[in-house]
Structure formats: structure tokens, C-alpha cells
């Protein structure tokens, strides 16, 4: 049995009706048992749909994926298989993650510190040679493509994500390890604050900027190490 409202019941259920029509339908529902029954069924269907369980495919597609992306898949070496069972982390950092505020430091193969100044807007970062006469002869400028986020936001976002992960997972670590991590994060944070104050007072100081960047990198590395510990015991 259906009436003019039966086909509108889904809209009503999904709260997509205009207020006037909604009031009319609700008045109708007060005395239409059939529509009430249909509406109840539609609610059950929506609840059932939201509760559908996900299940993996019958066959694991990973070997095909691994082959297409050029990694070892399940035929890995024993060491790699052990790493799979007990994942350990390798620490890599992109340029944005090594940046401090709007300035980042990159050490190139010559071991000389180069200062990155964001120039020409956020689209690119140009490496400028330091004023030292002992600098090795490299090309005058090296343009490093930047991501669409400024280095400072990328670093802050990475730290915030890892701190949240650590905060959520600290219950999985023993208290002694948590204490060690927290204590050392506090040590590094204190060093960062001191370095930031120093940079604020002498923003052109190459050493201070590089020291700040390095200390921030240490924080990120320790957070990742801690997050890896959390993941490995979860």
C-alpha cells in the first residue's frame, strides 16, 4: 500500500525535506500505520547498512601490488621478513621536515652549511651560498621545489601528529620507557626554546639557525622513534 507520502519517506528520514513539507508528513504519520511501518523498515535498513562489516577479498592482492610498485612482496629476505614481524623504522626527512620557522638548513656533500631562504613566494626555495670564502665552488643557486605547505607548518603538523599518536599509545608502553621519552623530549624542547630565543635576537646567525634546525630534527626523530615503539607493541 502506498500513498503520496510513501515515496517521500526516505527524504524525511534523511532530513532533506523543506520544513513545511516535513510538518505535513509528520501530521500524516500520526494516523497512517502503513507509512509508519515503512518508515520503521527504512530506519532498520539504514542502520543495517551502516553496520555492514568489511571483509577482505578471498585472495590477497598484495603480490600483484608489490610487483607493480616494484617491491619485494612476500619473497623478501629473512631479515626483511623479520622486520615485517617486528617493524623497525628507518628515519628519513624531507626538506620541509628539516625546516625551522621559515628557514631550513641543508648540508650538502661538501659538508658546508647552506642557508635556505624562501624567496619568490611559497612556490620555490632557493639555496643561497653562505658568505664564507671557504665554501666549495657550487652552482650559485639551487632551486629546491617546495611543497604547497610552508616548511614550518609541515614540521609542526608532523610533530603534532606524532605527539598525538604518542599520547594515545603511551598506555601500551611501560612507564619507564614513557618516562625516558618524556624526559628527553623535555630536554630537546628546552633546547629548542633557548635556540629560538637566540635566533630571535640574531636572525642572521648561520650557526644559530642551523643549531635550531638540527635540534628540531632531533625532536622529530625522537618522536618517530617513540611512535615506532608504540606501533611495535600495538
Amino acid at each position: 500500500m502506498s500513498d503520496q507520502w510513501t515515496d517521500r519517506l526516505s527524504e524525511y528520514l534523511d532530513d532533506e525535506m523543506a520544513p513545511g513539507e516535513r510538518r505535513e508528513l509528520e501530521a500524516h504519520l500520526l494516523h497512517c500505520v502503513a507509512c509508519g511501518s515503512v518508515l520503521a523498515d527504512l530506519k532498520r535498513i539504514v542502520i543495517r547498512a551502516r553496520g555492514l562489516e568489511d571483509r577482505p577479498p578471498a585472495r590477497d592482492p598484495w603480490p600483484g601490488i608489490a610487483a607493480r610498485i616494484g617491491v619485494g612482496g612476500t619473497g623478501a629476505s629473512p631479515v626483511a621478513r623479520r622486520l615485517e614481524a617486528h617493524p623497525r623504522r628507518r628515519w628519513t626527512f624531507s626538506v620541509p621536515q628539516l625546516a625551522a620557522a621559515s628557514i631550513a638548513l641543508m648540508t650538502v656533500s661538501g659538508g658546508t652549511a647552506w642557508l635556505l631562504h624562501p624567496v619568490n613566494g611559497p612556490g620555490a626555495v632557493t639555496v643561497a651560498a653562505p658568505p664564507s670564502s671557504s665554501a666549495p665552488q657550487l652552482s650559485p643557486s639551487l632551486v629546491v621545489p617546495a611543497t604547497s605547505r610552508t616548511p614550518a607548518r609541515s614540521y609542526d603538523a608532523a610533530v603534532a601528529d606524532l605527539e598525538r599518536l604518542l599520547g594515545e599509545g603511551r598506555g601500551r608502553l611501560d612507564t619507564a620507557t614513557v618516562r625516558v621519552i618524556e624526559r628527553n623530549l623535555a630536554t630537546i624542547d628546552s633546547a629548542i626554546v633557548q635556540a629560538q630565543r637566540a635566533v630571535a635576537a640574531d636572525s642572521a646567525n648561520v650557526y644559530l639557525n642551523s643549531h635550531l634546525a638540527e635540534t628540531m630534527r632531533r625532536k622529530l626523530e625522537l618522536l618517530r622513534q617513540a611512535a615506532a615503539l608504540v606501533s611495535s607493541v600495538s
Binding site: 659538508g111 628527553n184 630537546i188 633557548q194 640574531d202 646567525n205 650557526y207 644559530l208 638540527e214 622513534q225
Partner: protein, 301 residues
């Protein structure tokens, strides 16, 4: 005590309680040990075999597998994580080692092969190692002696000490000191946040040496014959030298550079608020004074 041994190349030995077994090892194989807690103590012998001795509790198994290029030893708990097990392992000196654990101390002596060690709450003490030598602990000191190759030693909350070693060295900790003595480094990166850094070894021509601390002192032992371009940076700290140096240039703030000999090596010494100091070889600890070792007065603690 029950034994079951498969006839295939993937032989697995699961031993209960007292463990004393020896499996053959062939050249090129690597030892992989994963022990949740306890101690991993590795020594070497001249046989091409791996001997494993342990006394695990009844709820922990020690699994030994030989497969392809690996001899692996793993502790497994029958219900939940395994209990602490002290593993005493004897291996050929040529056998590479890959040792890891959580609440695990690791001790190695006599190996002449690559070593990788990772633990969380445990000390690492390695004598030997060639090729890639990578030692890491979070809460535990890391000590390495007699290694050569690419050396990578890390702690978080404790000291890192390397001695009688040679090669490319990277040493890091956060809350501890880094001391490198009788180390012949062709390149060096030694950084800590809250602790001293000291290097006493040759400064090689063409080598690159970076030593850095935030709160601690940075001390470099310099032989008279050294040739290096040295850059010293500090913010709130001091610079001291046991011998005269001629400052080539001075920058705003406390930054100095000078040249020793032909200036061949590149040396960077940085301490945010500690003292950067130069000493002669054998005098790495001359900056320590009695106050540091006087614990009778603990008024500062």
C-alpha cells in the same frame, strides 16, 4: 624435554626449558636474534656452527631456525610476551649479527663481521665488528670497542662510548655524553643535546668532523701534526685552547675559525652554551674537575 626436527632445509628446533644446541653454519649466513627481554651474549669460536644455550622459563620457548642465509633465534611466549631469557650464543667470527630486543642487554665479543643491534631498555656492549656496525638503545648506554667500518651508534638517555675503532663514525644521544677515544675516524658526526662530546684520535687529511652539543662541552684532542680548517661556534659558551691558535676570522657572536697545518680536514665544533675546547691527545678528560666527581655534597640534587 622434547625435540622435533624437520628433514627439510627449513629445519626448526623448538626447545623447552634447558637449551643447549648447536646448528651448523655456512659461510655467508647471518645470525638473527629477536629476544624480548633478558640478555643476548654473543661470543665467537673457530667452528662453523652456532651454539645456543639458555634456560628459559616454562612459559617461554626458544625457537631456532635455519633457513637460507639466516640462522635465527627467537624467544616466544606461550601466552603473552615471553619472559626474560639469557641467551648465550657462540658463533663463527665471520658471521654477521642482527640482534634485537626490548628489555634486552646485548653483549658481543670477538666478531669480525657486520653487526646491527637494537634494544629499548638495555645496554649495548660490543667488542669487534667490521663493515656496517649499527648499535642503538633508547634507555641504555652504548659501548663499542675495536670496530672498523661504518659505525653508527645511538642512544637516547645514556652515554655513547667508542674506543679503539676506525672508519666513518656517527654517534648521537640526547641525554648523555659521547666519548670517542683512540678512534681513527675518517669522518665524524657526534651530536648530543644534554652532554659533553669528546674526540681523541687522528684528524685525517680530507676528513670531515662535526661535534655538537647544546648544553655540554665539546672537546677535541688535536695532535701537533694535524691539518684542519676549524670552525668554532657557540652562543652562550666559551672557547678555550691548550695551545695557541691564530684566529683567522671572528664573526659576530662567538664564532671563530682558524687553520692548523695545511687546513686539509674540515672540523666544526659547536656548543650552544657549553665550552668548546682544544686539548692535546691523551688529555681528553683534563677539563673534568674534582667537583664533577664529588658526590659527598648532593645539595644540587
Amino acid at each position: 624435554m622434547l625435540f622435533s626436527m624437520a628433514a627439510s632445509a627449513l629445519a626448526a628446533l623448538t626447545l623447552l626449558q634447558q637449551v643447549d644446541t648447536t646448528v651448523p653454519a655456512r659461510e655467508g649466513q647471518r645470525l638473527v636474534v629477536d629476544s624480548y627481554g633478558g640478555e643476548i651474549d654473543v661470543k665467537t669460536w673457530s667452528k662453523n656452527a652456532v651454539r645456543v644455550e639458555a634456560d628459559p622459563s616454562p612459559r617461554t620457548d626458544v625457537e631456532i631456525n635455519t633457513a637460507g642465509g639466516t640462522v635465527s633465534i627467537r624467544t616466544e611466549g606461550r601466552r603473552g610476551p615471553p619472559s626474560a631469557v639469557d641467551l648465550r650464543i657462540t658463533v663463527p667470527a665471520w658471521m654477521g649479527l642482527d640482534l634485537s630486543g626490548v628489555y634486552t642487554d646485548v653483549k658481543v665479543a670477538g666478531t669480525r663481521a657486520p653487526i646491527t643491534v637494537e634494544t629499548v631498555q638495555g645496554e649495548v656492549d660490543v667488542t669487534g665488528g667490521e663493515g656496517i656496525v649499527s648499535l642503538r638503545s633508547v634507555q641504555g648506554s652504548v659501548r663499542l670497542k675495536g670496530a672498523k667500518g661504518r659505525i653508527d651508534v645511538h642512544s637516547v638517555n645514556e652515554d655513547v662510548r667508542v674506543s679503539d675503532a676506525s672508519g666513518e663514525v656517527v654517534a648521537e644521544t640526547v641525554n648523555g655524553e659521547i666519548i670517542l677515544e683512540r678512534v681513527d675516524a675518517t669522518s665524524l658526526e657526534a651530536t648530543t643535546v644534554n652532554g659533553d662530546v669528546g674526540y681523541d684520535g687522528p684528524i685525517r687529511n680530507g676528513g670531515r668532523y662535526t661535534m655538537s652539543s647544546h648544553n655540554g662541552d665539546v672537546t677535541l684532542a688535536v695532535a701537533e701534526s694535524s691539518s684542519a680548517s676549524v670552525a668554532v661556534s657557540t652562543y652562550n659558551g666559551e672557547f678555550a685552547s691548550a695551545f695557541p691558535v691564530t684566529l683567522r676570522e671572528t664573526r659576530k657572536g662567538k664564532r671563530f675559525s682558524f687553520t692548523l697545518g695545511s687546513g686539509s680536514a674540515q672540523v666544526s665544533l659547536e656548543s650552544f652554551q657549553g665550552t668548546v675546547q682544544l686539548v692535546r691527545p691523551g688529555h681528553l678528560h683534563q677539563g673534568d674537575n674534582d667537583e664533577d666527581h664529588d658526590h659527598d655534597d648532593d645539595s644540587d640534587r
